[in-house]
């Protein structure tokens, strides 16, 4: 526990979704506060569930956490940050300018670009010595899943560089024009992040190849940006108590194997191991237990009565029936969405592989900068095409396209100016959105299965679709029906089927419900839910796994009875599903999977 006892001022928790970042960040903050420190816990995840974990409603300003002296917490909500930013700009002139001008300003200040800039602005404020964090000894950041966080942690340097090199007074600061004044603050943020006496990066992982791989990637990429002071936490180590339970033995072996194969770059990082708990980490008592020293009684959830039958609600189905339905249509868009770590990529890949094996042409694609569908699928069989939206490639392509089209009539100076503008970090949002739109309209002719980036990132994409839609509509005016925007296709239930993936645990279900609400606000109704990695569907006999499975059944019932018309349950497999055979095991009805094991 040295890493906590010697903790510097800033602690960043990062890792693949679902590895327990929020639980560990909360446990660390409570641990420090219980030892007399004044601690500020900050969530930078647009889809944060810190409120649920701590049992307190959080906002933009530090809120004291009841039950923990010295601990306050806040949520950087990008939408709320953007709203506040917009009001700062528009408020003073709202009554002085014509209504249409004010409306235009608000529209310009509601795009993805503003959302990102405003959230980033609040984030750097917390790294400074003044501002909301000044009164605290420690600031603990619970960050969004990897891709988003990498971007957030790199932005200070990106904007700093852009402002440094843009000598002509940078035209494309866009909504970030206010940033010019903040240049010194960003430079200070970069210094704070790269100072090992001030900042520790905590890489959280599970004993699984995928999560370890992502931790290794983050470790390397963040070390490059200067965050070299790192610690690794391996969360959820499992030992089978019932050696006759094949799933339990397979999970234990899988964990050991993954740690044996740990990527080289992580071996030099100091590490801590935390055993798997039989309970969900919700509420202060569970949060405190997570980092309590080992005393042999780690599992505190009530043990299920012997012989209790684990049965799934009747109105749930396996993925096989979903595949039947998709195969029948043969075209359209399936968007697989959910919080990071719930297995979106596996679910998307399993559907695509199964469909292709039945001879249906499928385009499997991902918008997740950190996803590697090709690695998951391996050698593909049948008519399966795999692509990905790579932000770097998209930005390069977008820049080239704009230079060719808008830059063709310009002289050398004009082209240099345009090139400068195109180096703005804003360009990435636009370029990725263009690529996303292209895939969306491609589903007119083919069946597209889209593995989306973790929630926050995807919501930004949908937000971009919304502002694009409004801008187009304003330009097109009364020629209604003349044009179809990506948002219109996403809202068309005949065209787009949104699948929400979750785990059968309290927090992930709450997160999926929040996501469903966000989608409804954008006019998109989720079509079905997939409960992935279900222990209840796999029917374990090991006591720890069984106690988790019993807790799962209540969650699955809640999904199937209250939240959706279509619930598909995927059993937990002994190993991470990889390759065509592994993925197709996810499709099999749970009962068949169980008898195969036994």
């Amino acid at each position: 526990m040295k890493w906590i006892e010697n903790a510097p001022r800033h602690l960043f928790f990062t890792g693949k979704g679902g590895v327990g970042k929020t639980s560990l960040a909360a446990a660390t903050a409570v641990f420090l506060a219980d030892r007399g420190k004044r601690v500020l816990l900050v969530s930078t995840d647009p889809a944060s569930n810190l409120d649920d974990v701590l049992g307190v409603a959080l906002g933009r300003d530090p809120t004291p956490v009841p039950g923990v002296d010295g601990l306050s917490a806040l949520n950087i909500d990008p939408e709320a940050a953007a709203l506040a930013y917009r009001e700062r700009v528009v408020g003073p002139v709202r009554d002085l300018l014509p209504a249409d001008t004010v409306a235009g300003m608000e529209e310009q200040l509601s795009g993805a670009c503003t959302v990102e800039v405003a959230a980033f602005d609040e984030f750097t404020m917390l790294l400074g010595e003044d501002g909301a964090a000044a009164a605290f000894d420690h600031v603990v950041f619970d960050t969004a899943p990897t891709g988003h966080t990498l971007r957030l942690l790199r932005l200070p340097a990106a904007w700093s560089d852009f402002l440094d090199t843009n000598e002509r007074g940078a035209t494309c600061l866009g909504p970030a024009s206010g940033l010019k004044m903040q240049h010194e603050r960003y430079a200070a943020a970069v210094r704070a992040l790269s100072d090992r006496d001030r900042t520790l990066l905590v890489l959280v992982t599970r004993p699984e190849a995928g999560a370890l791989g992502e931790a290794a990637r983050s470790s390397g990429e963040l070390a490059e940006t200067g965050l070299r002071n790192q610690h690794l936490v391996i969360n959820g180590l499992f030992e089978a108590a019932d050696r006759s339970d094949p799933l339990a033995v397979a999970l234990e072996q899988g964990g050991r194997q993954a740690l044996d194969d740990m990527p080289e770059v992580l071996r030099s990082v100091s590490s801590t191991r935390i055993p798997l708990r039989g309970e969900n980490i919700v509420g202060l008592e569970a949060v405190r237990r997570l980092l309590a020293r080992e005393d042999g009684s780690s599992s505190s959830a009530p043990a299920p009565a012997a012989g209790e039958v684990l049965s799934l609600p009747a109105n749930t189905a396996s993925l096989a029936s979903l595949v039947d339905e998709l195969a029948e249509r043969g075209h359209g868009l399936v968007m697989v969405m959910g919080k990071g770590g719930v297995g979106k990529t596996s679910v998307a890949a399993a559907l695509a592989v199964e469909l292709a094996s039945r001879g249906v042409s499928v385009h499997l694609t991902t918008t997740d900068p950190a996803a590697h569908v090709a690695d998951v699928v391996g050698a593909s069989e049948g008519p399966l095409r795999m692509t990905r939206i790579d932000p770097e490639e998209e930005v390069a392509a977008y820049r080239a396209k704009v230079m060719a089209r808008a830059g063709q009539d310009l002289d050398a100076d004009g082209r240099a100016l345009l090139e400068e503008d195109l180096r703005s970090p804003c360009t990435e949002e636009v370029a990725v959105f263009h690529a996303f739109s292209k895939v969306v309209s491609g589903a007119r002719r083919e069946l597209v299965i889209m593995d989306t980036a973790p929630t926050g990132h995807t919501l930004l994409l949908l937000d971009a679709a919304g502002s694009y839609h409004r801008e187009i509509m304003r330009n097109v005016g009364d020629r209604e029906g003349a044009i179809t925007t990506p948002l219109m296709r996403l809202r068309d239930a005949d065209y787009t089927k949104v699948l929400l993936v979750t785990l059968a645990e309290t927090t992930p279900v709450l997160e999926a419900m929040a996501l469903a609400e966000d989608l409804r606000r954008a006019g998109i109704e989720p079509w079905g839910w997939v409960v992935n990695n279900s222990l209840a569907a796999a029917g374990p006999t090991d006591p720890l796994l069984r106690s988790r499975a019993v807790e799962e059944v209540a969650q699955i019932r809640r999904v199937a009875e209250d939240l959706t018309q279509r619930t598909f349950v995927v059993p937990r497999l002994g190993e991470e599903p990889r390759g065509a055979t592994g993925l197709r095991a996810m499709i099999d009805p749970p009962t068949r999977a169980m008898t195969q094991v036994a």
Binding site: T101, D409, D421, E429
Partner: protein, 114 residues
């Protein structure tokens, strides 16, 4: 008398070349290049975007009156001192040069100025 300034009051937009928008408008890109050229000829140029500096639209009486009378349609509004050069459209390089009292310019396509 103080130095004359060319002031441009844009429509609300994300950025002045429009590279962040739903579609890049070549006219806007060209206008940005023309302003850049004008500035390099020694002319003082200032450019305001209501989404970034809304106060500028309120404090300048000429702009404020134009907005009150004609609404959003008067944007983009280009002023030379207190004179309106153009309203609702982007003037080309020739107009800009003439306004600022510069000698006639070669067209953009052939590159540099005379």
């Amino acid at each position: 008398m103080s130095v004359m300034v060319l002031r441009v009051y844009d429509k609300p937009m994300c950025c002045s070349t429009g590279v962040c928008g739903s579609d890049v408008d070549p006219a806007l890109v060209r206008f940005s290049a023309d302003l850049d050229w004008l500035a390099r000829q020694g002319v003082s140029v200032e450019r305001y975007n209501p989404a970034q500096e809304p106060r500028a639209f309120v404090t300048n009486p000429v702009v404020r009156r134009a907005l009150q009378e004609r609404g959003d349609r008067c944007l983009p509004l280009v002023l030379w001192g207190d004179e309106i050069v153009s309203a609702g459209e982007y003037p080309d390089r020739t107009v800009l040069a003439r306004t600022a009292g510069l000698s006639p310019v070669a067209t953009v396509e052939t590159g540099g100025a005379a």
